[in-house]
């Protein structure tokens, strides 16, 4: 009998390996922690919890050897053993992590797992305690104190049913305290508990027999049924006090009531079926052998385990579940506070000017510096609430890669790095779709078939990389492959065919512009391009999402070597540092993260190349973008300000009239009905009430860059 279908079992295994790797990683970490503080009970509990989860999961997945070992280890992870063993316990945990890891990879390759003898002995050494206990026959004494006897007689006189009850605790039940508690609960149901031994104060550590006397209206049969608690009570004795108690007690002969026979039978039945368990386990595991082995992800998971964040260390008891809306409210309020702060700054500035000699000035500026610092911390703290590790997004990709690779008959490994990079939850959610698209494309079109790869002198197994890292105020997420790369010429040719590009443009088109054609909606849906270049379907969606996130996407490709898509997104959507400047007497802002440097240049430094105004700055030749719209605009004092911005890995020079300064802007989203241009991504209010528009750089560049290009081309 199979509990799970083939499909289901395979799915479960994937899930299991994924989570098991995390568990091992956290085992390693907590093991090291335990080595440092062997008597820290909290750490010990962490280890135990991790081992316990691993045990449960591996048992459920049918990996009996692993589960057994984990079980042994878990039993050893008690404060008592820790006190006795000291650092040896941590050693055992670390050895266990290694052993489990090799067992896991054996399971994954469907090999016989190593027996883990070393670990087994290590654990035995830790828990060298006589394990075998003879099952004692239930011998009840019912030796109540004089007062208790008085209470019993009193209850009987009032016509209540009074019973002496003795429980023998199942020797297979290792949780004596829990058993004791359950018995107490049950007795409570049976009536008034007149006496109970052992009582609350006694340690229940190696408790075998519980005796009690209850009074109430329940019949003996009812009580007997209620007290025969499965898996806790192995033997039961019920008597009416005062009848045979004395004889029992006096004879000292082991008395075994008839009723206990079938109880013992149950116990025997249970223990015998415990041994039969492996059958079931095999039944679960068997279908997984039919799994096609087209894809091999071991390296990916092994790599991932190296750098996986310790999820379990972070998962302490003190978690709070809060509606995202509440956090957004706080976030908005912080945003308003920041506007208020700049209002205050403005006012203080005016005050300074008006009363330059006033003593109050210093007090003001001190208080405001203090306030600014706190505000900064507050803002960071609020942001942090929304942050989640990129891992949440990345962890689904081993599966995506595997599925796509399987469906198109390729061998692909997935390498993941930087998954502990934190990112705003809402950004992360929005990135899920585009990233999945890029990864699918990489496997489907980027990676060649194994034969093709071998012919090209590459390893047959392709690699897809996912990486995340910080870069200034941004997060960079890269999805790359070592496949065939994008064929630029074909792309350009296709674009001309579709009328997206004119022949003149095609001749002058730069490397980046050519590659960016991929994101053109008209091209993206063309199957031929997909087949030739290996890219396309829905790439415009990727672009659109990144635009919405005020992020950028750029492509790096080397024919024959592979392609990497680089997605840059802001750390958060709500507040940005921005550079303010004026163009044509209007205030604009660009995200400071995009600004590389600010330069002054005179008209004579501007050259005209290929119908573009460009300026040379050290190594780079930057295309100039005149936000004012007029390339011949005379600059103030013969010189003009150039804000050098980076967009993806390209740089541009924005020619602006006047620089205003940098400021933290709280972005107010602009409704689509309000502003019908994609050139502006949002607006903000300054301290003095001025409204500033935040430019959407990628649109500005593509629009104005193109405009100049076509103007130049027709001129």
């Amino acid at each position: 009998m199979n509990f799970f279908s083939d499909e289901r079992a395979a799915e479960m295994r994937d899930l299991f390996f994924e989570s098991a790797m995390e568990l091992l990683q956290s085992m390693n970490e907590v093991g090291l922690e335990l080595e440092k503080h062997p008597d820290n009970k909290e750490t010990l509990r962490d280890v135990r919890r991790t081992v316990h989860t691993l045990k449960g999961d591996s048992a459920a997945c049918g990996f009996q050897e692993l589960s057994d070992l984990a079980h042994q280890l878990e039993d050893a992870l008690t404060p008592e053993v820790a006190a006795k063993a000291g650092p040896a316990l941590a050693e055992a945990v670390l050895i266990a992590a290694d052993t489990f890891s090799s067992m896991l990879s054996a399971y994954r390759d469907k090999l016989q797992p190593p027996a883990g003898k070393e670990l087994h002995q290590q654990i035995l050494a830790l828990t060298s305690r006589p394990a075998s206990k003879v099952i004692p026959k239930l011998q009840a004494r019912f030796a109540w104190s004089e007062y208790e006897r008085l209470v019993i007689v009193d209850a009987q006189d009032r016509g209540e049913n009074v019973f002496n009850i003795a429980f023998s605790i199942d020797p297979h039940c290792p949780m004596r305290a829990a058993a004791m508690q359950l018995i107490r609960n049950v007795l409570q149901e049976c009536g008034r508990v007149l006496a109970i031994v052992p009582d609350q104060s006694t340690l229940t550590h190696d408790l075998d027999v519980v005796e009690a006397v209850v009074a109430g209206d329940k019949t003996q049969a009812w009580i007997e049924r209620k007290c025969r608690i499965p898996s806790v009570v192995s033997d039961l004795l019920i008597q009416v006090p005062g009848e045979k108690v004395a004889g029992e007690n006096g004879s000292g002969a082991p008395h075994k009531p008839e009723s206990s026979d079938d109880v013992l039978d149950i116990v025997e039945h249970v223990t015998s079926t415990l041994d039969a368990e492996p059958e079931l386990v095999q039944a679960i595991e068997r279908p997984t052998h039919k799994l096609p082995t087209a894809t091999r992800q071991e390296p990916a998971e092994a790599d991932a385990s190296q750098s996986l964040p310790n999820k379990f260390a972070a998962m302490n008891e003190n978690l709070l579940r809060v509606d995202a809306e509440r956090i957004d409210t706080v976030m908005n309020l912080v945003g308003e506070l920041i506007i208020a702060k700049s209002m205050l700054h403005q006012a203080a500035g005016e005050f300074d000017k008006r009363f330059p000699k006033d003593q109050l000035r210093m007090k003001f500026s001190d208080a405001m510096a203090f306030q600014a610092r706190i505000m900064n911390d507050l803002q960071k703290a609020v942001m942090k609430i929304r942050m989640v590790p990129v891992e949440h997004l990345f962890r689904r990709f081993p599966r995506v890669v595997r599925d796509v690779a399987k469906s198109c008959g390729k061998e692909v490994t997935l390498m993941i790095t930087g998954q502990d990079t934190d990112l705003d939850k809402s950004i992360l959610d929005m990135l899920a779709e585009p990233l999945a698209h890029l990864v699918r494309n990489s496997v489907d079109h980027g990676i060649e078939s194994p034969a093709e790869r071998i012919n090209a002198g590459k390893p047959a197994v392709g690699t897809v990389r996912l990486a995340a890292y910080h870069q200034g105020n941004q997060i960079v997420i890269e999805a790359g492959d070592d496949g065939r790369g994008i064929n630029r010429e074909r792309l350009v040719a296709k674009a001309m065919e579709r009328g997206i590009l004119t022949a003149a443009d095609a001749a002058t088109i730069g490397e980046h512009e050519a590659l960016n054609l991929i994101f053109h909606p008209g091209l993206s849906t063309a199957d031929e391009v997909t087949a030739i270049s290996g890219r396309g379907v829905g790439m415009d969606v990727v672009q659109a999402v990144l635009d919405r996130l005020k992020g950028t996407v750029s492509i790096r490709t080397t024919p024959g070597k592979g392609t990497t898509f680089q997605l840059k997104v802001p750390l958060t959507l709500a507040i940005i540092k921005a550079l303010l400047f004026r163009v044509a007497e209007r205030m604009y802002a660009v995200p400071l993260a995009a600004v590389v440097e600010i330069a002054r240049a005179s008209q004579s430094q501007v050259h005209r190349v290929d119908n573009h105004d460009v300026i040379q700055m050290r190594e780079d030749v930057l295309p100039l973008i005149y936000l004012g719209g007029n390339p011949q605009q005379p600059a103030v004092g013969g010189k003009m300000f150039i804000v050098v911005i980076a967009l993806g890995d390209r740089k541009f020079g924005l020619v602006v009239d006047r620089l205003v300064g940098e400021e933290e802007l709280v972005i107010k989203a602009l409704d689509d009905h309000l502003v019908a241009t994609d050139l502006v991504s949002g607006a903000s209010i300054l301290g003095d009430g001025t409204v500033v528009l935040i430019l959407n750089l990628s649109s500005v560049v593509s629009r104005l860059g193109k405009l100049q290009m076509t103007v130049g081309a027709t001129a």
Partner: protein, 145 residues
């Protein structure tokens, strides 16, 4: 695996279960077992909070609840459920290591506990015990797949 006589409600309908565990495996494992006993899974939850809302939604006959879970531990969930529904039958499912937690859960109104890894035979007996008079054993044997 052994066959079990179907364990049904007094009204001969399947016993309705809510399975709570943060591990999907554990959940599926237990779910398969109780289904083999003739029960019906009416809800699943991966943490204590969800368990409470699921209980309110599905009002199951029996809750199988893991002790250690993120968000809200099984004990607290059990306590809250029992406070709102004194008739709730909650069986704690956990391992040897969490004895003090099981004791706490039992004090808070849980009816029984089962050790992990869960053995079908023991679970069966425990369920039968906890259901008490509200369950009947059907002569029809659970269908083998």
């Amino acid at each position: 695996m052994d066959q079990f006589p179907l364990l049904l409600r007094k009204d001969r309908k399947p016993i309705r279960y809510l399975v709570v565990d943060d591990s999907v495996f554990a959940r599926k494992n237990v779910a398969k077992m109780v289904e083999a006993f003739g029960g019906e899974i009416v809800g699943e939850a991966g943490d204590g909070c969800t368990a409470i809302t699921e209980y309110d939604r599905a009002t199951p006959d029996m809750v199988l609840m893991d002790i250690t879970m993120p968000q809200m531990e099984g004990i607290e969930a059990a306590e809250r459920i029992v406070r709102a529904h004194p008739q709730a039958r909650i069986v704690m499912v956990s391992s040897v290591g969490y004895q003090e937690n099981i004791v706490a859960a039992l004090q808070k109104g849980a009816r029984h506990f089962v050790q992990k890894p869960v053995k079908a035979e023991i679970l069966y007996e425990v369920i039968k015990y906890v259901m008490g008079d509200d369950a009947v054993m059907s002569t029809a044997v659970a269908q083998e797949s």
